[in-house]
Structure formats: C-alpha cells, structure tokens
C-alpha cells in the first residue's frame, strides 16, 4: 500500500476503531479520533515533503506538459471489463487540497471535543466523510472519483440531522437532495465522456487525450460544471448552503464549508475544464456572470444576517463565488487564484465556524445584536475572530488578499475566447464586493466584540480552553503563513495549474 492509499485509509481505519469501542467510552473515542487525525496530519506532512522532493527537479517538465503530471501513482485494475481502475495519484493541486482537509479535520476533531451526545456515531460519521473527501482529491479514475464524491456527501445528512440545531431535518434533507441531484448530472456527464471517448476507460488522463466534438462539449460542459457548481454553491444552486451550514454542528460546518464546497471548484477545474476545454471556452462568460452574482449577492446577503452562522454562510457563498470566478477566467492567474482561494477560504471558514461553535457553547446565542463587548471576557476568541475577519475582507498579509488579487487579475487579463469588455466589467463589479465585505465584517466584529458588555451573564464566561486554543491557533497561523509566504503555496500548485491551462490553448478544434 502506497502513501496515498494510507492517506485514504487512515481516517477509515480510525473509524473502524471508533466503531469497535463501546459507546460509553466516549472519552476514549474522542482521543482515538484526535489521534487518528494527528497521524493523518503527519502523513500529509510527509506527502508534501516527498512531493516537493520529487516535483521540484522536474518543475519545467510539469509546467510544459499537456496533461497533469502525477506523483505516487497507484494503479490496480478493479473492474477490468469496464475499464475501471483503482487509479490514484497527486499533482500540486491535489496536494494542496489534502493539506487543507487534513488541517480542517484535525482542528475539527479538536473543536468537537465537547460533543457529548452519541459521541461514537458522531466521530464515526465524521471520519467516514473525510475518507470520502481524501478519496476525491487523489482519484484519477472517474468511477472512483464519483464513488468517493458521494461518500463525502451522504454522512452529512445524519451529521446535520442528529447533531444539528434549528430546522435541522429540513436543512439536512435539502442539502442532501440538492447535492445528489447535482451529482446525478455529473454522473451523466461522466458516462457521456466514457462512451464518447471510445477508449473504454474511466481513466481521467486517458480521457483527456481525446478531443471531443464541439457539439458534444457544448452540452456536456455545462452539465458537469453545474453539477459541481451545486456543491460549490454556484448561484442559483446555492440555497442549500446557508441552511445547511447554520444547522450543522461545529465540526460539520467546518468540514462542509471548509472542504466539501471545495470539491465543487476542484471538480469544475479538474474535470469540466480539463476534459472539455472547448466547452469551457464557449461557456466561460456565462459562468463568469453567475459567479459574479454569487460574489455580490453573497456579500449583500451577509449584510442582512442577524445570525452569526447565517452571516458566515452567506459570506461563504460570496467567497466560493471567487473560486468559480477564478475558474471561469480560464487563464493561469485566475486558476491560481481559484485554487488559492479554495485553500484560503477553507481555512478561514473553518476558523470562523470553529469559533462560532465555541462562542455559542458559552453564550447560547448566535444572534449578533444580542452580543456585545465579548472581547473583554474572551480575548483569545476575539483575536482569532479578527484574524479570520481580516483575512475574509482581503487584508494584505493574510491569505485572502493573495487569493483575491489573483482572481481579479485573472479577470482583468480575461481570456481570448470571451468578450473583453464584458469580462472587465464583471471583474469591476466583483471587485466592488470587497467594500461590501469590509462593511459587514467590520460591523459584525464591532457589534460582537467591541463596546461595553451588554449582558451581565457574559461576565462569567471563560476564554478558550486548550483544545480550542490549539485548533483555532493552528488555523489562524495558517492564514498568516499563506498570506506572508504565498510563494510556498504558489510553487506547490503553479506547475500543475499551468498544465491544465495549457490544455485550453493546445486543444484543437476538430
């Protein structure tokens, strides 16, 4: 078993351990999960290190390649008669997403330290979900990809339905059904590709060697893009996300907004654009319009919110719009911005939702106007919130800035296949949302943390405990690391991104 197989297997094995422990040993379950996620984090570090060692001497070759160059490939025939293989590998983009997920699940398991209802089932489902997410990021066989993709979506239903708050059953059902309808369209697209290629394989790299007819690309691309767009909260398919996020328990919100929504952007880039470059060119402007609506609509939506979780969820819609916007620019800088934004937003929202969960656990309210002056009693939380908030409004020095700059630059450069004025105009509109973001973030933070304490009861509140400090601290530090040393991240992903972008320019018209 290679390194990547272990990366998928460790959460699953941890889950099996959790399942075997009697439910009343909930303390042990907590420790086992945290330990398993810790091991995973170590594995991920090894992965990054080894990837770096193997990839850096070949940077130029990767950059000029027409197909993604994969490392640590494992390939075992699975259903040979249908051309299905267990085919996993990573390129720079995958590695960055694995790092993101690994961080979020580790901190998420710490942030769930105080889940005391049905702890065993909670952690088992959480670990199952993460297994699926890791699987998606390393799969290069469409069948395998789809299998992991749905595995990542489904535990969500129970996680929100059982441990959620508010109208949890409604939210869980809505989320599950919408995401699965999205994946149904993805599935149709996969079959279309499989049969149109005539190669009798689900191997992503081989499918990419075929030039599909323009007519074919014209209808398959939007299908796959929208299918992934649903999970990436593409307007108007985003409605599940505010409900889902606000009803979900802390770790699930973290994972969902932090990681699961990234599957959308990842799939759109890795599969829709990669396999169907001509389709991408035809539809780029249309999806750019939709993602601009995402950005603007999300930020205005956030201004209106009174509930902290809804507030963050709408800001997520806006920020995920940046990801899709970046993908729709169809140029290297835009792609880079999209991937950076996936990472940055993942960490940022993870931090936000972790904090909201912890603050809610103390104040028992998430309504913004009911809070006030909390910085006096919980300075740690306040600091962390500020870091997250400033990253979200794109303050230089934090990761959000780097990502958004790239996305907008991508928009300004535009692509030769869309109307130049239109893309420029859309970019300007999207840029305006930064101001709106600044308004709602600063206003929200000021209301919650500044000023006098509005409720006597708040005086008795305690600041963060050790697991809480650890989880939020790690995430906040990551925001700084990416913000201050963006080249670390850009070097990791750039060559792979260029390889995808190359496909757009070299893929010929039949």
């Amino acid at each position: 078993m290679g390194l990547l197989s272990w990366i998928i297997a460790v959460p699953f094995i941890t889950m099996l351990f959790v399942v075997c422990v009697p439910a009343r040993q909930w303390r042990a379950i907590r420790w086992i999960s945290a330990f398993g996620c810790g091991i995973h984090l170590v594995l991920t570090t090894i992965l990054v290190y080894r990837y770096w060692q193997e990839a850096s001497p070949n940077m130029e070759a990767i950059r000029s390649a027409n197909l993604a160059t994969l490392f640590f490939v494992e390939r075992i025939p699975w259903f040979p008669s249908l051309g299905i293989t267990y085919y996993i590998g990573v390129d720079g983009i995958s590695v960055s997403m694995i790092v993101l997920t690994s961080l979020i699940i580790f901190t998420g398991s710490l942030a769930s330290w105080y889940v005391d209802i049905r702890t065993k089932e909670f952690y088992a489902l959480l670990l199952l979900l993460v297994t699926g997410v890791f699987g998606v990021f390393v799969s290069y066989d469409l069948f395998l990809f789809f299998m992991f993709y749905e595995l990542a979506v489904l535990p969500m239903y129970l996680l929100i339905g059982i441990w959620g708050t508010g109208p949890k059953e409604y939210a869980a059902m809505k989320l599950t059904l919408m995401l699965l309808v999205g994946s149904a369209f993805v599935l149709v697209g996969f079959f279309a590709l499989y049969h149109a290629s005539g190669l009798h394989t689900f191997d992503l790299q081989q499918l990419a060697t075929v030039t599909y007819k323009n007519d074919f690309q014209r209808w398959v691309f939007p299908m796959v893009f929208v299918g992934f767009g649903v999970i990436g909260a593409l307007y108007p398919f985003h409605t599940w996300s505010p409900d889902g996020h606000s009803s979900a328990p802390t770790a699930v919100s973290m994972l969902h907004a932090g990681v699961l929504m990234k599957l959308g952007g990842y799939g759109a880039l890795r599969i829709a654009v990669y396999l169907l470059p001509e389709g991408a060119k035809m539809w780029a402007l249309f999806f750019m319009v939709l993602s601009t609506i995402n950005i603007v609509y999300g930020s205005f939506g956030a201004i209106m919110q009174k509930d902290l979780k809804y507030f963050t969820a709408y800001s997520s819609v806006s920020h995920c719009g940046f990801v899709l916007f970046g993908v729709a620019t169809l140029n290297v800088i835009g792609f880079k911005g999209a991937v950076l934004q996936m990472f940055s937003h993942g960490i940022m929202t993870g931090l936000f939702f972790a904090l909201i969960g912890m603050v809610y656990g103390r104040t028992h309210t998430r309504v913004i106007p009911e809070m006030g002056g909390l910085a006096k009693v919980m300075p740690w939380f306040a600091t962390m919130f500020y870091i997250g908030g400033l990253a979200s409004l794109g303050l230089p020095g934090l990761s959000g800035f780097v990502a958004e700059t790239h996305v907008f630059l991508g928009g300004v450069f535009g692509n030769p296949w869309s109307d130049r004025t239109a893309t420029l105009l859309l970019t300007i509109v999207a840029t305006m949302s930064i101001v709106v973001t600044a308004v709602y973030v600063l206003r929200g933070l000021a209301t919650v943390f500044q000023g006098p304490i509005t409720n006597e009861h708040y005086l008795e509140l305690t600041d963060a405990r050790l697991p809480e400090r650890l989880s939020t601290g790690i995430l906040a530090a990551t925001l700084f690391v990416v913000g201050l040393l963006p080249w670390l991240f850009i070097n990791l992903t750039e060559s792979s991104i260029v390889a995808i972008a190359n496909r757009l320019t070299t893929a010929g018209t039949p």
Binding site: F79, P80, F146, Y157, E169, L180, F185, V188, F191, H195
Partner: protein, 478 residues
C-alpha cells in the same frame, strides 16, 4: 447430472410434505432444517455442478445465465426459509394467529422455487409456460397464508385475479406466436420470427410483453403489487419481491434473447419510456406511503424500472449488468426484509413511524437496515450503487443520455423516501419506555451476513467480472 439441483428441490419438497404427515406437532420443528438442508444441497449441487448441459433433447438446458439464476433463486429461497422460521415456529413476541402449517408452507415454497428453476432452463414454449405457472400458482397460496387475516385473503385474491389475467394474456400471445411460426422449440421459433408476418407478431409481442410487465411489476402493470405486498405475511412479501422478480427477469431473458429477440430490438424507445415511467411512478408513490411493506412494494416497482435498462440497446454489457443488479437486489432487498420481518415479529407494527429510535435501542439491526436502504437508493460504495452504475452505463452507451439523467434524478428522489425511514431510526428519539428488542440468533446471523454482502459485493470485483466472463461467452453461443 444436469438436473440435480431441480431434483433435489423437488425431492425435498415432497420429503417435507411427507414428514409433515407423519410427525406430530412437537417434532415438526425439524421441517425447516430439512428444507434448509435440501436447499443447501441444491445450492452446492448448482454451484459445483455443470454450467452447461442439456436433457430431453435440448428442451431443458443449463447455460451460464441459467446457472447464475439458479443460484439466485436457491439463495432467495434459503433466506426466505430462514426469516420465516421464527414466525412459523411461534417464536415471536406478538402472537400471530393463522400462521403455521409449516409442512405445507415450506413445501409450497419449494415448489415455486422448482418452477423458477425450470423456467430458466426451459427451451420449449410449452415447458416455459408450465414452469411459469408452477412458479406462480403456489405464490397465490402463500400470499393468502394468514387465513384469518382479511388483508392477507385480499392479497391472495387480488394476486390470483391479476395473475390469471396476466397469464391469459401471455398464453394468448404465445399461442399467436405458435400460430404464426408453427414452432414450440425456441431456437426454431426465433429463426421463424425473422421472416414472419409483422401485423400479427406486433400483437402477439404486445400481449407477451403485457404478461411480462405484470411479473416484473412494470408500470402500468404494477397495480397488484402494493396490496399483495402489504397483505401477504412478511416473509412471503420478501420472497415475492425477490424471487418473483427474478422469475420475471428470467422470463424476460427467455423472450428477449431466445424467442423474439430480433423483433424486440426495435422496441428500445418503448422499453425506455416504460423504464422511465416505472421508476418515476414507483418513486413518487413511495414517498407518501406510511406502511413499510407498501413502501417496499413501491420501492420494488421503481427498482424494476432500473433493472430493465439493461435491455436497451441490446448490447453485450446489458446482460452482465442486469445479472449483477439482480444479485445485488436479491441480497439487499432480503436484508431490508429480514429487518422488517424481525421488527414485525417483535412488535407487530408495520408503520414507518414505529421504527423511531431504533438506532438507539437496536443499533446493529438499524445499521443493517440503513445499509440496505442506502444500497437500494444507490449510494456508494454500497453494492446498489455499483449495480446501478453499470446499468446506467449501458443506457448511456445506447445514446440515451436523457434516460440516464431521469434515472439518476430518480435515484435522488428515491433517496428522499429511504431517508424517511432512516430519519425515524436515527434522528427521531425512541418512544418513551422503548427497550432493546430481542432478536433470535438465526435472524441476527442472517442480518449480519447480508449486511456484509451488501457492503462488499460492489467493492469486490470478483462477482461482476465472473458474471461478465460467463455472459459474454453466453451471448456468443446464442
């Protein structure tokens, strides 16, 4: 011995009947083990025995596909006997009157299985029809088994009337085919069909397809299913949903691949509409059901819609996809029904709401039931997903992407109602005073084994690949 499994089943059926005659009530507990031993022996004989061979001058033939169906049927019967044990031996928490007569029950069950086994091996129209009747008639009796329970009687009656109607349509169709071609042997008949007069053949094929639709519960021939499923004793419902559907599929195979194949190949669009209507209707109506058995009936209807996707395009991948799906469906649906039978035995309740909080009182059974429902909904990595994936692939290969979209969206709709049950088990708190319900060893083992199979069948490529190899050579030999 080509016919060994069939002979074992028949002998066992008579042995059970005779033993019932000579044993006193106290000793009749040996009947079920007797039936199980017989079925086990038949299974082994089928598994180890030849996968090709013929007797009666080529009128009874075992080939690769027949070999697989044999195993499915015997497996289904075996599990049905196991899940019937508690009910028939009176080991239930709820006293159910009118159930009993173990000897007759097991022997009638064995006779239907014998009929189904013959059905897959028949190569002559007359044998085909007779074995179809042998597999169906005892089912009418089984459906009405709880004599003093009005819905059971109603189930039996409805089943008889609809069944007789379907049979008569079928017989009429077959008679017309005989009239047109003058042949009863299938191979000769298939050759004659290609040069027969179209008008009458259209009519005959239509009639046959109607009869087939009844067996497979395709819309609009599905009317009987819900009432019969609801009224019949639960183990019989389990058997109906699996073995009877299997028989329908075998029969469809006979018609499609051996008799009217070249003729029906142009019916792709009709099959596609029928499949789309069946899965959509089954799913939409299942949403509003409150009785778990009716719910499973509509679920079974929609599953039939997926199943027939394999006939579209008449390509080589369709046969292994359908066979594999049948295997998965047998295992998964029996798992679901094992849980329903157990719950009914212990509480006497059948409403979906009654399952509330099961995950907390009986976590292992709830887990098994959830696996079954997720698998039926087609959620990876469970076997139901893989089965559907292959079927959808066949449809896509035929260029019917719209149908794949309909089917895939339907899977999502189906997830909605399967989640209703899962919600009751996992999200709703248990009723006040609910305690852990007892479970007998046999049922616990059955649920455990079937759960493992449901989880693993799709991941282990062995089964699909073996079916694939077998069926490719089978298609070549047709």
């Amino acid at each position: 011995m080509v016919m060994l499994p069939e002979i074992i089943v028949i002998v066992t059926a008579f042995a059970v009947l005779l033993a019932d005659l000579f044993l006193d009530e106290r000793r009749r507990v040996v009947l079920a083990p007797l039936a199980l031993v017989g079925l086990g022996a038949a299974f082994v004989a089928g598994l180890a025995g030849t996968s090709s061979g013929e007797v009666f001058g080529g009128r009874f033939v075992i080939d690769a596909v027949g070999w697989w169906f044999r195993l499915f049927f015997i497996l289904a019967a075996f599990v049905t006997v196991v899940v019937s044990l508690d009910l028939l031996d009176g080991r239930t928490s709820v006293r159910m009157r009118g159930i009993g007569f173990r000897g007759e029950y097991y022997s009638v069950l064995l006779f239907t299985i014998a009929g189904m086994l013959y059905l897959s091996a028949a190569r002559d129209m007359i044998t085909l029809y007779v074995s179809l009747e042998l597999s169906t008639l005892p089912l009418f009796v089984l459906a009405a088994w709880r004599r003093d329970h009005a819905p059971s009687g109603e189930a039996g009656l409805k089943y008889v009337i609809y069944g007789a109607l379907a049979s008569s349509l079928l017989l009429y169709g077959l008679a017309l085919v005989y009239g047109i071609t003058g042949e009863t042997r299938m191979d000769a008949l298939a050759a004659a069909v290609t040069k027969a007069s179209p008008g009458a053949l259209w009519f005959a094929s239509g009639l046959i397809v109607c009869g087939l639709g009844f067996k497979l519960t395709l819309v609009p021939f599905h009317m009987w299913a819900a009432d019969v499923y609801e009224g019949a004793p639960t183990p019989v419902t389990a058997y109906l949903s699996v073995a009877s559907k299997g028989a329908g599929l075998v029969f469809a195979f006979q018609i499609y691949y051996r008799m009217l194949g070249p003729w029906l190949q142009d019916w792709d669009l009709a099959i596609a509409f029928c499949a789309a209507a069946t899965m959509t209707f089954g799913n939409l109506v299942a949403i509003v059901q409150n009785n778990i058995k009716r719910f499973m009936a509509f679920s079974a209807i929609s599953q039939a819609g997926y199943l027939i996707l394999g006939f579209i395009g008449a390509n080589a991948e369709g046969v292994p996809a359908m066979l594999f799906y049948m295997l998965v469906y047998v295992v998964t649906n029996l798992l679901a029904f094992a849980c329903i039978v157990w719950f009914g035995n212990e509480t006497g309740r059948e409403r979906i709401e009654d399952y509330r909080g099961l995950a907390q009182t009986n976590p292992m059974v709830a887990l098994g039931f959830m696996l079954a429902l997720f698998s039926l909904a087609g959620i990876p990595p469970l076997s139901g997903f893989v089965g559907k994936y292959f079927l959808f692939s066949v449809t896509a290969q035929a260029g019917m992407h719209w149908l794949v979209a309909v089917a895939a969206v339907n899977s999502t709709v189906s997830l909605y109602y399967y989640l209703r049950v899962i919600r009751q088990m996992y999200i709703e708190p248990p009723a006040e005073g609910a305690t852990t319900l007892p479970i007998t060893g046999t049922l616990a083992v059955t649920i455990g084994v079937l759960s493992a199979a449901t989880a693993l069948l799709g991941i282990i490529p062995f089964f699909y690949e073996t079916i694939h190899v077998h069926t490719i050579s089978w298609l070549a030999s047709l």
